[in-house]
Amino acid sequence: MIYFYNVSKEFGRGAGVYDLNFNIHKGEFVCIVGPSGAGKSTILKLIYMDEKPTDGKVVVDNFDSSMLQKDGIPYLRRRVGMIFQDFQLLRDRNVYDNVALALRVMRVRRKKIKKRVLQALNSVGLGHRAQYYPQELSGGEQQRVSVARAIVKEPIVLLADEPTGNLDPQVAREILALLRRINEQGTAVVMATHNYNLIKNTPYRRIRIEEGRVVDT
């Protein structure tokens, strides 16, 4: 469902990712691992088309990076859930509205929104923080809001960038279990992480990146 064809993304000053070739199938769970600055986030950004390849093409579902116009991108992003390394929460609205936004942009009905948002917040253990603003939350709580916003729209792919970087092992395991459950319901999951301990006992495919190149898949 996700295809990388000879993809390179160069950032001018040398850094970037080079000549990526791999596929991720429907319902698969893939971990992207590698040291800091290797290019993990860049790969995820290429999938949700925040970055355009400088070479090659990325195909997600039936969205092709080499053909997709700007006004097609929102429709791609509605099918892809994203957990950002830096959370990307709106400071000017509370947790509930931050999560609900993902559904509102799709024009889901109000009642349905309420039910699903509360459900998502509970599943990340933040039901009691619905009325808080992001800056009133701890780092780990903000990260979980980002998780809730990604899963609330029931995407076909879930992209998780370091989703447990700010969480203690207990909560991290809970979040991983949550991703696993979502994966079992048919959603593909692509997780970028450096938390080897967390994934070392999982059977999931690993794509290893070093200095912008796939070294092991």
């Binding site: 700007k70 006004d71 929102p74 990307q88 709106l90 000017d92 993902a102 109000r110």
Partner: protein, 291 residues
């Protein structure tokens, strides 16, 4: 569907970004107030000029020996002139009455006979004519049988004539400058207030909002800012009107008033400023912020 959400977003945008919204509203208020003042002052000045120019009076004094026939010839001429909007005949007796009204003495008691001549007070509408037309007319009248003398305030006429156009052009220039300045200011302040929220646009895009979805709340917010700005401008203008009337009432023949055209104009301009300003700004920014 969630159209209600978009409208609510527009309203709460005002409340969330209080300070940038406040500045946008303030700028709209000030711009509209300045334009309103320019308009009020300009129309007042034009009105004053026109009042004088449309009611310009020429006195045609008849010679003592003027006959009925002379008078009918004169009246015919006055009736046929495009310049003349009306005239009154003032007989020797009328003139005597006026004399008494003005000076408090009966002229017959002062003198044996009434030396005051009969006359016509001719009102001319000089708005579309220049002073040469009036001079010509006066000369023609002066040469007619039965006319003794034609009197009018030539100096005033020439003055009016000279400055009427200057006032119109000058007023036009100022209005254009104020309008242009307002558009620039309002447009850029709204842009700045949207600029303060570019983070919001970025995140909205990340969660899959279409451009339209992002734009609508900003435009609604802009319209609200425009309406609020117009409201405050009307209050401000009302203050200016009352203040000016109080300070200048004794100098001016008519008072400034807030008539419907100005109220309607301010509201319409406010709406337009808010709508066009926000629509243009958001369109500009949205294309600058990366997908």
């Amino acid at each position: 569907m969630s159209y209600g959400f978009l409208v609510k977003e527009g309203f709460s945008g005002l409340a969330r970004a209080k300070f940038p919204s406040f500045v946008a509203i303030l700028t709209i208020t000030i711009s509209l107030t300045l334009m309103g003042i320019t308009y009020l002052g300009g129309t007042k000045l034009v009105h004053l000029f026109n009042q004088v120019r449309s009611g310009f009076e020429v006195e045609v004094f008849l010679s003592p020996g003027a006959t009925e026939y002379d008078r009918s010839r004169i009246e015919e001429k006055l009736n046929n002139s495009e310049l003349v909007t009306g005239f009154d005949y003032i007989s020797k007796d009328d003139a005597a009455k006026r004399f008494e009204e003005e000076f408090g003495e009966n002229i017959y008691e002062v003198l044996d006979a009434n030396p005051l001549p009969a006359s016509y007070t001719v009102r001319m509408d000089t708005r579309n004519f220049d002073h040469n037309d009036v001079t010509l007319m006066a000369q023609e009248l002066g040469k007619m049988q039965g006319v003794d003398e034609v009197q009018y305030k030539q100096a005033v006429l020439r003055l009016l004539d000279r400055y009427a156009n200057a006032v119109l052009i000058g007023g036009g220039i100022i209005l254009v400058i104020v309008l242009g300045a307002s558009i620039l200011l309002v447009g850029n302040t709204i842009k700045l207030s949207i600029f303060a929220k570019r983070e919001v646009i970025k995140i909205m895009r990340l969660v899959g909002a279409t451009d339209l979805f992002i734009k609508i709340p900003f435009i609604i917010e802009g319209i609200l800012q425009g309406i609020l700005g117009a409201g405050f401008a009307l209050l401000g203008l009302y203050g200016v009107v009352v203040g000016t009337n109080y300070l200048l009432g004794s100098f001016l023949t008519t008072e400034l008033t807030m008539d419907w055209p100005i109220i309607g104009g301010v509201i319409t301009l406010g709406l337009l400023f808010g709508l066009v300003g926000s629509a243009r700004s958001i369109r500009m920014f949205i294309s600058e912020i990366r997908y």
